[in-house]
Each structure stands twice: as structure tokens, then as C-alpha cells.
């Protein structure tokens, strides 16, 4: 090691170099938790997301349960069947994502690429149908309290789908560039957890807003 063999005019720097070995760059961050940083980050993020959705669901239940208002508002209808088909499309995207993840674990790069492209296209289809639903539903967010909650909940979820699609697009590009392997595929795993979370939230939104 060159740093340890060259005497330093200040004297004490020699000891520092020997103590820290061949380390370059900033010192490693202090870890006060035994949980992996990536896992801890995703845990805190999902908890904060659940709280955001919880705030919107609180407004929803206030209108339906505390106020006892009709749902949806009088004179409006919700496209339950179209949203049901859209739910199947979104749930299908989780299956293709899981297939892609399983493929790269086996070293199947074609499976990863095919699965990720299918997942992205299914997610984009869901978002397209959702926007089309807004255009044809026949009421605006400012019309009634029910309409505000409807657009708020489905719009909040739509924003999460949009973020998820951006992440999936990045994963697709990296998959085609050959960045993943059976040993290193965390870049697929973490967006995958997020995408499944988005799907689970949609099932809850669909059940409460459209079905019940």
C-alpha cells in the first residue's frame, strides 16, 4: 500500500492510512438498524403510502357512513363492468411481472424482457382505460362530494400507476441492455414490490368505490 509506506509531514496521517486500509471515498454510512437499508426504505415508503390512501378512505367512509349520503351521488352511475375488466388487466400485469422476476432468477433473459414488456403494456392499458373512463363518466370532481372522493381516490391510484409505469420503463430499458443476472436483480425486485402494492391498493379501491 503506497499510502502506508510514504511518510507524511504531519506525522499522524500515516497512522490514519494504516487504520483505514485502502479505503477511498466517503466513510460508510452509520447503520443504527439491523434491517437492510433498501428494505427499510421500501418499508417506510409503503407505510407512508398506506397513510396517504388512508386519509382518502377516511373521507370516503365519512361521506358514506357518517353522513349516510347515497353512493354514487343521485343521478350518476359508475361503470362497474368496465372497471372490473380494467381490474383484471391490472392484476394480470402482476402475474407477468412475477413471471419476469422468476425468469431472471433462472437466468432466462428472454423471459425477463417479455415479462417486463407485457407488464408495462398491461399497466399502460389500465391507465388509458382509466383516463377514458374520466372522459366519459359524465360528472366532474367539483359536482358533488361523492364525485370529489371518486376522482380523488382513483386519481391518487392513477398517479401511483404512472410512477410505477416510469419505474417499469426503466426496468425494461435496463433489461434490454442486459443489466440483470440471476445473482443481481434487485432492480427488478424493488419496483416489483411497489407494483404489487399498487395492484393491492387498486383491489381495495375497486371493492370500496365500485362494488360495495
Amino acid at each position: 500500500m503506497e499510502a502506508a509506506s510514504v511518510p507524511h509531514p504531519a506525522g499522524h496521517a500515516h497512522g490514519d492510512a494504516a487504520e483505514h486500509g485502502d479505503h477511498h471515498g466517503p466513510p460508510p454510512a452509520n447503520r443504527s438498524s439491523r434491517v437492510e437499508p433498501q428494505l427499510l426504505g421500501m418499508l417506510l415508503f409503503i407505510i407512508s403510502e398506506v397513510m396517504v390512501f388512508g386519509a382518502f378512505f377516511t373521507a370516503y367512509f365519512f361521506i358514506r357512513v357518517a353522513q349516510g349520503d347515497p353512493w354514487p351521488a343521485v343521478g350518476t352511475t359508475l361503470p362497474v363492468e368496465v372497471a372490473g375488466v380494467n381490474t383484471l388487466i391490472l392484476v394480470s400485469s402482476s402475474f407477468t411481472l412475477h413471471w419476469a422476476e422468476a425468469a431472471i432468477k433462472r437466468g432466462n433473459h428472454f423471459g425477463l424482457k417479455a415479462g417486463m414488456v407485457a407488464t408495462f403494456l398491461l399497466g399502460a392499458t389500465f391507465l388509458f382505460i382509466q383516463i377514458n373512463e374520466y372522459a366519459n363518466i359524465g360528472f366532474a370532481p367539483q359536482d358533488t362530494a361523492q364525485a370529489t372522493i371518486f376522482y380523488g381516490l382513483t386519481g391518487l391510484h392513477g398517479a401511483h400507476v404512472t410512477i410505477g409505469l416510469i419505474l417499469l420503463l426503466i426496468v425494461c430499458i435496463r433489461a434490454f441492455r442486459g443489466h440483470y443476472s440471476p445473482e443481481e436483480h434487485r432492480g427488478v425486485e424493488i419496483p416489483g414490490i411497489y407494483w404489487h402494492f399498487v395492484d393491492i391498493m387498486w383491489i381495495v379501491v375497486y371493492l370500496t368505490v365500485y362494488v360495495i
Partner: protein
């Protein structure tokens, strides 16, 4: 114990459980509306 944040596989398993519960809820609602 299931921890959906540990891996994509476990998150997918949680999704399957949620789907099963959702199908059960829809089935109950449909039955109640028919009766």
C-alpha cells in the same frame, strides 16, 4: 411469517391472498343481492 416487503415473491403471495379475499367479498355481495 409472510413479509411482503422482503421480496417480490412474498409481495406477489400477499396479492394472491388479497385477490382471494376480494373474490369472497364479491361472492357474498352477489349472493346477498340475489336473496
Amino acid at each position: 411469517m409472510l413479509n411482503p416487503l422482503r421480496s417480490e415473491g412474498e409481495a406477489f403471495r400477499l396479492l394472491l391472498y388479497v385477490i382471494a379475499v376480494a373474490v369472497a367479498i364479491v361472492a357474498i355481495i352477489v349472493i346477498l343481492r340475489v336473496l
